[in-house]
């Protein structure tokens, strides 16, 4: 496989910890291979920084195959970079041209404080899940799966919402820093399934409440979240959340 290399200018947000004031640092990489993933390009930068006794740029990653949701960088103002349905780890340098300047910022939201550089604390999402993003089942031997019939259409819808990887791009891209897409997807995923029915009302009320307590903003139906979502979750998740919330209020 032939490949061409290019020069990429980077403008990266550097911040020591959550209390310090961050600033941009500029770096230039000369031998960026077009087949590199965006994160591999950052690996090359970090190797270079370490060789020069510099401080490597901290960024979050785990699986590097678009399923874990660890990586969420805001690249040139867009969460997960320029491509739709693509997490940063799946973004390749062939989407850039020789001599491009790339600005990398962390996801910015008061509920996602910066830990270091591009790494933000997303435990607010964990607390939303803890509030109701689960089903309670008696442990023991696994029950016969076919005992609970699931409507095929509902199962498909639930799966579409279940694909949320919790990367936080929806919050990062939302002009209001709302977590409605994440919370909506997690609620809809379980509320669509028979196993989620017993706790459906408590779930939606508790998760909406927790989302608000974490300091995320209100949804203004910008639908920017859907545009940046690496797994393409529709804002119908938010409509589901609102409908389930209203149902819960009028259900006793």
């Amino acid at each position: 496989m032939s490949s061409s290399t290019m020069t990429i200018h980077l403008k990266i947000w550097r911040q020591k910890n959550s209390h310090s004031k961050g600033r941009f640092e500029t770096y230039t990489l000369d031998q960026v291979d077009e087949h590199m993933s965006f994160l591999e390009m950052l690996d090359v930068l970090n190797e270079q920084l370490i060789m020069e006794d510099g401080d490597p740029v901290e960024f979050d990653y785990d699986c590097r195959e678009g399923i874990c949701g660890s990586c969420n960088l805001v690249i040139n103002g867009k969460a997960h970079g320029p491509k739709h349905l693509t997490a940063v780890c799946q973004l390749h340098m062939r989407n850039y041209n020789d001599g491009d300047t790339v600005v990398i910022e962390p996801a910015r939201a008061a509920a996602f404080p910066v830990i270091k550089d591009l790494v933000v604390d997303r435990t607010a999402f964990d607390r939303i899940i803890e509030a109701g993003g689960y089903v309670s089942v008696k442990t023991g031997s696994a029950p016969e799966a076919n005992l609970i019939p699931v409507n095929q259409k509902k199962a498909n819808q639930a799966f579409d919402f279940a694909t949320c990887i919790g990367c936080g791009a929806c919050v990062a891209a939302c002009p209001n820093s709302s977590a409605s897409l994440f919370t909506g997807a997690k609620i809809a995923h379980l509320n669509k399934l028979p196993q989620g029915q017993p706790e459906r009302n408590e779930r939606v009320l508790a998760m909406v409440d927790q989302m608000q307590k974490e300091g995320f903003g209100d949804c203004s139906n910008f639908a920017e979240c859907e545009a940046v979502c690496p797994v393409g979750i529709s804002i119908s998740a938010i409509a589901e959340m609102r409908r389930d919330y209203m149902k819960a209020l009028f259900d006793d």
């Binding site: 709302s178 139906n221 920017e224 804002i235 919330y245 209020l249």
Partner: protein, 234 residues
């Protein structure tokens, strides 16, 4: 279980209330426009319409109170959402842009707070000009009526009013361009197909409403109040 007040203050409740009040205001605006277009009817149709509304008495006050509540809630929630978003992102992005695709971010959606606040300020001046304005009395169908029509024509002969109103009506169109679809979404419209269709219908409706409103001041100004549609000068 949250109380009604708590639920209304939740992020979902606020959106539902914004949607409901938004729809009420949209219906009001459409009725208002229909009333305005009476100016192109018979010479005294607009005055008859005005008299008809005033004759409703208690019902009119009920509608007025309903509208004040709807406007108040809609504006209060909208402004509070706008203020909260600053707290929710204390450090702004240095570079930020929409990713396009499914995004509904644009001039219309991003300026909802601004266009909304301008519309609210406009409303005060608007009520002062027409609802509380000085009108002559005319005899129509054998009874005394306020000559609202003449007040309207006189007002829009003034370029400041004609173009000021036109400008604000463009902003109204922009507000509704995102607002109509957004109200449907807030009131839990789930279907993706329906969503796309309603977005288009909303934009067209917003455009027609804006054109309908701004046509009147511009027509009066450019025809010197003597246009054929107004029955010429008498």
């Amino acid at each position: 279980m949250p109380s009604f007040i708590e639920a209304a203050q939740s992020q979902v409740g606020r959106k539902i209330l914004t949607g409901i009040t938004g729809f009420l205001l949209l219906f009001f605006i459409i009725f208002h426009l229909a009333g305005n277009l009476a100016i192109f009817g018979d010479e005294h149709d607009m005055n008859r319409y005005s008299a008809f509304l005033h004759d409703m008495g208690g019902l009119l006050w009920l509608a007025r109170i309903g509208l004040i509540v709807a406007f108040g809630l809609h504006a209060w929630i909208g402004i509070s959402i706008w203020l909260k978003k600053r707290k929710a992102r204390s450090q702004a992005y240095n570079v930020y842009s929409s990713k396009g695709g499914a995004s509904k971010q644009g001039l219309s959606s991003r300026s909802m707070a601004l266009t909304g606040i301008i519309l609210l300020i406009f409303l005060v001046f608007h009520i002062n000009t027409f609802a509380l304005g000085d009108t002559e009395t005319v005899i129509v169908d054998g009874r005394e009526m306020e000559d609202l029509r003449s007040l309207v024509i006189e007002t829009f002969m003034n370029p400041l009013y004609a173009f000021g109103y036109t400008f604000v009506m463009i902003l109204l169109g922009a507000h509704l361009g995102h607002g109509i679809w957004s109200a449907f979404t807030s009131l839990t419209m789930k279907s993706k197909q329906l969503s796309a269709a309603i977005y288009s219908v909303g934009v067209v409706l917003a455009f027609l409403i804006a054109i309908g409103f701004l046509f009147i001041p511009l027509y009066i100004y450019f025809t010197g109040g003597c246009g054929e549609l107004l029955g010429g000068c008498t």
